[in-house]
Amino acid sequence: MNDKPISNRAWFLVVPVMVFVLFSSLIPMMTVVNYSVQDSMGQNSFFWNGSEWFRHLFDPTTDIGGRFSRALVRNLVFSGVVLLIEIPLGILVALCIPKRGWAVGAVLVSMTLPMLIPWNVVGTIWQVFARADIGLLGAALTGAGIPFNNTQDPLSAWSTIVVMDVWHWTSMVALLCYAGLKAIPDAFYQAARIDGAGRWSVFRNIELPKLRRVLIIAVLLRFMESFMIYTEPAVVTGGGPGEATSFLSLDLVKIALGQVDLGNAAALSLVYNLITLTLCWIFFTTMTQLDARGSA
C-alpha cells in the first residue's frame, strides 16, 4: 500500500471525475444549504432565517421534529432487524452454494436476479404477492387463519417490508461471502481434515476469520442501503398504515416534493446526509485499517 510513488501529476487523471462529481454533488448540496438557512415569502423572494429550521428539526415537540425523531428510530430499527436476518442467512446460503459444475453459474445467476429488478417493480411484486385477495402469500396466510393485512395492520406492513428486503438483498450478502470463501486455499481444508476437525470447527476457525473482511463490507453496505430505503415501502405501503412504515426518505420526499416545504426539507436533508456521512466515515476507516493490517 505505502510503496506507491508520490506524484501530484496524478491529479490530472482525477480531474474528469472531480468535474462530474462537483456538478452532480457539490452544486446541488450548496442549494440545499442555501434553502436550509432561508425562508421564502413566495415569488422567489428569500430572507435569512438562521438556524430556525434546524431548531424545529431537533425539537420533538414540533410537528417536523416529532416526525423526524420517529422516522429516525424507525429507520434504525428497520436496519437492525434486516441485518440480523440477512447476515446469518447470507452466510448460510454462501456455505451451501455448489462448489463446481454447471450448477454454480445457474445458482449465482438466479440469486442475482432479484437485485436487477427495478425497485418499484420489487415493490409491485410484493404488493401483489402480499394481497389477501389476489396474492399467493396473503391468501396463504389468511387461509391459514393468520390475520394479515398490510394496508391496515402495522405489524403486517412491517413484516411485509422486512421479508421483501430479505428477499431482495440477502443474495448480496451471500455473494460477498461466497467470494470470501472462494479465496480460502484448499490446503486449509486438507489440514483441517487431517486434524479431524468437525464441520462447526472448520467454520469457526477457518471460514469465519477469512470472511471477516467481506462481512464488514456486507454489513456496512446493507446498513447504508436499508438506511436510505425509499422506493419499495413507497410502493407497498406508502408509509402507512398511519405513519407506521414512514422512513426518513419517505418523509423527506413528502416534505420536499409533496409539500414543497423547502426550509424544513433542506434542514432534514442536511442532517440525514450528515448521519450517513458519519457512518460512511466509520466504514471507510475500518476498511483502510483492515487493509493496512492485511498487508503488514
Binding site: 496524478a10 482525477v14 446541488p28 446460503v93 409491485t124 420526499v253 416534493l257 436533508s269 460512511c280
Partner: protein, 264 residues
C-alpha cells in the same frame, strides 16, 4: 445433501414472488380478480401486446435503456483514469478525495431529488435522458472508481514499469496493455453501473415528465386508471426483468469477485 436442501429452499423463496408475477401477467383481469389459480387457465398475451403497441409504454422502455446506456459509458470512461491514479500513485489529498467520492455513494437519493430538479431545470436538461444519465453518475462514478481501483491494484506495477522501459507512451500503454488486463474489472464495473441505474426510480421519475419518461414511471399510470389493471402491471414488471437477466449472463463468472468489489 443438507446443502442442496438449503440452497433449494432459498432459491424457491426467491422464485415464488417472481413466479406469481409471471403467472399473473398471462391471465386476463377477470381471472386475476375472481380466483387464485396457480397457472393461467385462459392464457393470454393481451397485456404484452398492449405494451408493445402503445408508444408510451415501449417509448418508456427505450428511454430507460438509453439513460442506463449513457450513464454506464460515462461512468466507466471517466472512472478509468481516476481509478488508475488511485491505484498507482499517492498524491496530495488522495485519501480525502477517495472518501469524499465514497460519501456520494452513500448519500440518500431522496436528499438530491429536490436540488437536482432545480439544477437540471436551470441548465435546460430537465426531462431529457441526459438529466437522468448525469444524475445517476452521482453514485455510479464513485462505485466504478472503487471497483476498478480494486481490480487495478491486482495488476502488478512491474507491468507499467516494463512497458515504460520498452518505450510505450502512457496512452498507448494504457489502452493497448492495461485495459485488456483489467477487462474483467471493466465488465464488472459496467454491470454494476447498469444495475444501479436500471433499478433506480426516485431520481429518474423526479427528473422527467413527458419526453424522457422512464418505463418505471409509465407503470404508475396503471394505478390511476379505473381500478387497477393488474395484468398489465404484471406484464410490465416481467419485462423489466429481462435486460437484467441478459446482462447478468455476461458477467456470471466474475459476479462473486465483482460483489466483493474486486477486493478478495
Amino acid at each position: 445433501m443438507t446443502r442442496r436442501i438449503v440452497i433449494g429452499l432459498y432459491l424457491l423463496m426467491l422464485a415464488l414472488p417472481i413466479y406469481w408475477l409471471i403467472n399473473m401477467s398471462f391471465k386476463d383481469n377477470v381471472e386475476i380478480t375472481s380466483a387464485l389459480t396457480f397457472w393461467p387457465h385462459r392464457p393470454t398475451i393481451e397485456h404484452y401486446v398492449h405494451i408493445f403497441q402503445d408508444p408510451a409504454w415501449y417509448g418508456g422502455f427505450l428511454n430507460s435503456l438509453s439513460y442506463v446506456f449513457l450513464n454506464t459509458v460515462i461512468s466507466v470512461v471517466i472512472a478509468l483514469p481516476a481509478a488508475y491514479a488511485f491505484s498507482r500513485y499517492r498524491f496530495l489529498g488522495d485519501k480525502h478525495l477517495f472518501f469524499w467520492l465514497l460519501s456520494n455513494l452513500m448519500a440518500p437519493p431522496a436528499v438530491y431529488a429536490m436540488p437536482f430538479f432545480n439544477l437540471y431545470s436551470a441548465v435546460g436538461l430537465f426531462d431529457t435522458v441526459w438529466a437522468v444519465a448525469l444524475a445517476h453518475c452521482l453514485f455510479n462514478v464513485p462505485l466504478a472508481v472503487w471497483i476498478l481501483e480494486g481490480f487495478m491494484s491486482g495488476v502488478p506495477r512491474e507491468i507499467d514499469e516494463t512497458a515504460a522501459l520498452d518505450g510505450y507512451s502512457f496512452p498507448r500503454f494504457f489502452f493497448r496493455i492495461f485495459v485488456p488486463l483489467i477487462a474483467n474489472g471493466i465488465g464488472v464495473a459496467a454491470f454494476f453501473c447498469f444495475m444501479f441505474s436500471w433499478v433506480e426510480q426516485l431520481l429518474a421519475t423526479t427528473l422527467t415528465t413527458v419526453n424522457a419518461k422512464p418505463f418505471v414511471a409509465v407503470m404508475t399510470r396503471t394505478y390511476s386508471a379505473a381500478g387497477m389493471d393488474w395484468g398489465l402491471l404484471a406484464a410490465a414488471g416481467v419485462l423489466t426483468m429481462i435486460p437484467g437477466a441478459i446482462v447478468i449472463w455476461f458477467v456470471r463468472n466474475n459476479i462473486a469477485k465483482g460483489f466483493a468489489l474486486g477486493r478478495v
